[in-house]
Amino acid sequence: MESAITVQGLVKRYGEITAVDGLSFSVGRGEIFGLLGPNGAGKTTTVECLEGLRVADAGEIRVLGEIPSPTNYALKAKLGIQLQETAFLSRLTVEETLLLFGRLYPRHRDVRELIDLVALGEKRRSQVKGLSGGQRQRLAVALAMVNDPELLILDEPTAGLDPQARRALWEVILGLKREQKTVLLTTHYMEEAEYLCDRVAILDHGHIIALGQPRSLVGEHFQETPVEIELSGPAEGVDFSRLPGVARAVPDGESVVLYSTAPTDTIRAVSRLAEEGKLSLRDLVLRRPSLEDVYLLLTGRRIRE
């Protein structure tokens, strides 16, 4: 099937900074694709090149078969865009805002239905300036849907939402998939990418460091189970990577993550060390490996912070 988006060797510089450094990926029609990475990784720059709001310095981009540019209005008409940083006319109501933007497109969805979809029914007639951050965010996502687009590009759609609103928005996005829409979203929430995305590209400093289905990315990198131990003091003379079962030990601030093929043996060894007073243990967690671990493994850093 023809791809909704193809990107070949995308490069974008801001003066000295190379924000995006040779990115290549494609997004199939009907797919939910995630760009995952910490702040400054180049996610916004990438999606804005796809939207035609920024002009790439190098690389080939096709979005719905078109070359994006600031004046490619035919393409813009088919895109649903939620910008990371945006604001609306503060004295228009939620309904007026959606109607205004709806009228900028060849056709638009029923505005009331859309308002209910993002759970802003109570605020339909409230002015934008009276909305909370989370409500504005939901309005921004509703705006991305107002023209009933084939392809939605959402830049951190759930930023600033409380967990409940985030879950609700996830369902809205999954609903789009059921309508055969293609969604490209950016996020720095691992669990969001795992829950929503068919495939993700993990970005770091403008490079893709991993690309694939969340489950298989994890499986590819981990036969081991992460055992995360939090220390309250230095553990001198302890070589974590030589404990039983441990394949890799990645220090992370006051914590150490031990990737173990035999987690029970590893845990037993750690508690023995604690009893012997060789390390002071504050906490120990055994988890299923996640994208967070993939990122930590590949960069030595956590994605948040």
């Binding site: 209005y73 813009k76 945006t86 009228r103 900028l104 497109y105 705006l143």
Partner: protein
């Protein structure tokens, strides 16, 4: 067209729901009008009437009459050619012009009536009444003294359209021009820069619409406000301070419209050129200041030292003020009206083109 209407409706709403902005935009120039109107008032009417006298050469009686008019202390008397004196009356420099026909002496010695035309400014009701009666009295008195049989010299009143300028009459079109300028510079530049800064413009950018649609809607909105404001200023001028509106309404509205468009475009240009809100504010002030004080808003441009003249004649507000003064209150033109309109049109086209070129969404 649908996009244009939708944006226009949206920004209109945004504006009129912001009561503070609405109030300040519309009321601020009116404060100026009231302050100048009350402080300067209508200006004190001169106690002495200025009278132009046109006398035929070699008429003995004429010389005597003029002598008498001078000595009466009722008038400041000017002698001159008919056309020159009438022009002075039209320009508001005379309260009246008395025309002495040739052959007065021979006519009255034969007992014939002689008609003396007295031109006056039709718009100056009270002054003209005083003038007519004072000149009439004077002539009657002169006749009585010389011959004892009055009523051969007959005054023939000739109303003329002319203006005697009070400071407020001069000032009002200037204030109107200034407020059109400031509406363009401040409101437009401030709004565009703020919307850019707050990333409101970016959202419009993502929509499938050329920038010209957005700019056209913004300009329409601002020009609409400008016309409203102009109507208010002119209304207060006429109703509260009795400033006469002599021009044809369509012509006056046309000049206001051209001025509004010019300065709204200039505001857009400044906003497009400025990299930030702060820079934009500074830029606007840099343009506002010389215009306010050098364009003849508060005092005529010929008071300006010669060294500043080139600046004066480069500023668009000089021409808008002149065009408004000419068309509204019939003031003496600085340059012909078509020159005013041409210069304004030039500024309009230039700034519109440049702002389309340099406009940035973020």
């Amino acid at each position: 067209m649908r996009a244009y209407r939708a944006i226009l409706a949206g920004i209109n709403r945004q504006f009129y729901r912001d009561r503070m902005a609405l109030f300040w935009t519309l009321a601020f120039p009116l404060f100026f009008v009231f302050i100048f109107g009350f402080v300067l008032g209508g200006g004190e009417e001169e106690v002495q009437l200025t009278l132009g006298v046109v006398a035929p050469a070699g008429e003995p009686l004429a010389a005597g009459l003029i002598q008498g008019l001078r000595e009466s202390g009722l008038f400041r008397v000017f002698e001159g050619e008919r056309e020159a004196e009438l022009a002075a009356l039209r320009a508001g420099d005379r309260d009246g012009v008395l025309i002495l026909p040739p052959g007065i002496l021979s006519a009255i010695s034969q007992g014939e009536e002689v008609e003396l035309e007295l031109y006056y400014d039709a718009a100056q009701g009270t002054t003209s009444q005083i003038l007519l009666s004072v000149v009439g009295e004077f002539l009657a008195e002169a006749e009585r003294r010389s011959r004892g049989t009055p009523k051969l010299l007959v005054l023939s009143p000739q109303p003329l359209q002319a203006r005697k300028f009070r400071p407020i009459d001069y000032m009002l079109p200037g204030i109107l021009g200034m407020s059109l300028m400031q509406l363009g510079l401040f409101s437009v530049a401030a709004v565009v820069l703020q919307w850019r800064d707050r990333k409101i413009l970016r959202r419009f950018w993502a929509a499938p619409m050329p920038r010209s649609t957005f700019i056209a809607a913004q300009v329409t909105h601002r020009v609409g406000i400008a016309l409203l404001q102009a109507g208010l200023i002119a209304g207060v001028g006429v109703l509260v301070f009795g400033v006469p509106m002599l021009g044809r309404p369509a012509v006056m509205a046309g000049v206001v419209l051209l001025g509004a468009l010019t300065f709204v475009s200039l505001g857009y240009l400044l906003a497009s050129l400025a990299p930030s809100v702060e820079a934009g504010t500074a830029l606007v002030q840099l343009v506002n200041f010389p215009m306010m004080f050098l364009s003849g808003v508060f005092w005529p441009v010929d008071w300006m030292p010669g060294i500043l003249r080139p600046v004066v004649y480069a500023l668009p507000l000089t021409y808008l003020g002149d065009a408004l003064r000419q068309t509204m209150v019939g003031a003496t033109p600085l340059v012909p009206l078509w020159v005013d309109l041409a210069v304004l049109g030039g500024w309009l086209i230039l700034s519109a083109l440049l702002s389309l070129k340099f406009f940035r969404w973020d």
